[in-house]
Amino acid sequence: MPDAVTLERLVGELKASDAESVIDTVQSPGRVAIEIKPESIVGSLEVMRAAGYEFLASVHGIDYYPSEPRLGVDYELLSREALDRVALTLRVSTEDPHVPSVTPAWPCASNHEREAYDMFGLIFDGHPDLRRILMPEDYEGHPQRRDFPIGGEPVLFTHNEHNVPRWFE
């Protein structure tokens, strides 16, 4: 987790490249997350790469239901020289879940972005091959959204075996 001085410097560099990119910094125990405007995520990641954070560990979606804007994407960065982790986050709403894809610049995000699309419905513009990765291709719905039901099947016991339609019926 970067200390206050480094955090100031990073936020300053991000703002220098794009004045309106940084919205907020969120502190959690052991972690600091810089919230970025969705349109400027690619540029912000390049700024971070130049600052030494060259390893994009994880790109994943988050559903902040019930607070709006509902969907978020989290980019976990690691600097191998400074041995430090920083996160960049962004928020989009479900009505317009478009996020610029970072895959052309960071090929390691390819599978992660496909998974975020599959699970949350976040559409990454510019991703070379955006299709479902974990669910079947013709599945409808985005399972990890908070309002998607957990689902499940009734467990078959001898007392309800005859009430549940079986494979041979």
Binding site: S28, P29, F55, S58, I62, D63, R80, A87
Partner: protein, 419 residues
């Protein structure tokens, strides 16, 4: 079958698929070469789980490799959101089913970071011992199944014999062979039984020699060497571009190991080396893991020698279950026990990302808490999902047999990929 004439107006779906493949790398083959797209379906004799590969072949040479995942997707992350924090540990453990202690460690570490709770030193050492035993076990399974894929079947029997001893150790300490809920938030669930340390020492006394024996079985075998040496190398820069970590990156020469770089759970108390390869070919990937087994034995021996006394789980009763003998006498203990079992612990709002060095690379766990007793989002950053992104780059231009050996050396565990 329609003719091979690409100018024909009516193309079948197969021909359309074929033309969608860019064959710009194969400039020496003009339009009369026919590429075959083969499906190595989710059920295949190779023992790496339900991985589906679509290979586009020119004879036996691979032009394009596309892995397709999802055949083991279990919705672990969504299930973990329905359980309280400590009841989600068994669910999260079942993600990467060979290195289950690592999954639990990453998740517990993330929640402990959110709770800002201190794990006692004895618990940290016990965690390290179990993690390293699990690393040995994961590498043994890798060695056994990879050798089985390549045809060296005896190695599989020997590795599983060693694995049985390890599972006996796990059963002795926690009662279960696999998916032991041994790691809890704040420490480990209970102390090790008497006699366990002697059994682990006995195992550590024989393991380095056994690792050498398994190496000797394979290292001088001409067929094995021809299938592994200089096959499918990838330089470290390309691997870093794809986000690959773990033994694959170390085989290419990059000594990045989270246990040394950003130590967690008292790893900086131990003295061990990091095996690093030179060429990044299949042989290095296999040899790095074999050497890592010996380094793990060193760590375990040091941890056993210096095992401190003390509690094995945090004393904070709002997080850890009180010991059972207190329940008969203390009212607060009873209330804490009741609240923890029915509702679970309340974690303050925040987000945490905790990464450890898993058997396959950086295993990270992201936990978001919204102040209630259930996590709002649990995401496991699995190393296999990211490592497999480098598989097409590694295998394009090589033969099918090389591709099988390479996928075996990449050691993907599809439970982790699909979660």
């Amino acid at each position: 079958m329609s003719t091979v004439d690409p100018a024909a107006a009516e193309l079948s779906a197969y021909r359309k698929m074929e033309q969608s493949i860019t064959i710009s790398e194969t400039t020496e083959f003009e339009g009369d070469r026919e590429l075959l797209t083969l499906n190595l379906g989710p059920h295949h004799p190779a023992t790496h789980g339900v991985l589906r590969l679509l290979v586009t072949l020119d004879g036996e040479v691979i032009r394009k490799l596309q892995p397709i995942y999802g055949y083991l997707h279990t919705g672990i992350e969504k299930t973990a959101e329905q359980k309280s924090y400590w009841k989600a540990i068994p669910v999260v453990e079942r993600m990467d089913y060979v290195s289950y202690y690592f999954n639990a460690m990453a998740y517990c570490g993330a929640v402990e970071q959110l709770l800002e709770v201190e794990v006692p030193k004895r618990a940290q050492y016990l965690r390290v011992i179990h993690l390293e035993l699990n690393r040995i076990m994961s590498h043994l399974v890798f060695l056994g199944t990879s050798a089985l894929d390549l045809g060296a079947i005896s190695v599989w029997w020997y590795c599983f014999r060693e694995r049985e001893t390890l599972l006996d150790l796990f059963e002795m300490s926690s009662g279960q062979r696999m998916h032991t809920r041994y790691f809890q938030i704040g420490g480990v669930i209970e102390d090790i039984p008497s006699g366990w340390i002697e059994q682990v020492r006995k195992f550590c006394a024989i393991m380095p020699e056994r690792a050498d024996i398994y190496g000797d079985l394979l290292n001088k075998n001409e067929i094995f060497l021809q299938r592994q040496r200089d096959v499918c190398p990838l330089p470290a820069e390309k691997l870093r571009e794809y986000g690959v970590t773990g033994p694959l990156l170390r085989a290419a020469g990059d000594p990045w190991d989270l246990r040394k770089a950003m130590p967690y759970s008292s790893y900086d108390d131990f003295d061990f080396k990091i095996p690093v390869g030179t060429k990044g070919d299949n042989y290095d990937r296999y040899e790095v893991r074999l050497q890592e087994v010996k380094e793990s034995v060193k760590i375990i021996t040091q941890a056993l020698d210096n095992l401190p006394d003390g509690p094995t789980i945090t004393e904070d009763r709002k997080i850890a279950l009180p010991p059972r003998h207190e329940l008969a006498t203390s009212m607060e203990a009873l209330i804490h026990h009741f609240k923890l079992v029915t509702e679970g612990m309340r974690v303050p709002e925040g987000e945490a990302y905790y990464a450890i060095e898993g058997a396959r690379g950086e295993l990270g766990c992201f936990v978001r808490s919204d102040g209630s007793s259930k996590p709002a989002r649990v995401h496991m950053r699995d190393p296999s999902l990211v490592n497999m992104q480098a598989a097409p780059a590694a295998t394009e231009g090589w033969l099918i047999a090389d591709m099988l050996a390479t996928v075996a050396m990449f050691d993907p565990i599809i439970g982790g990929v699909d979660r």
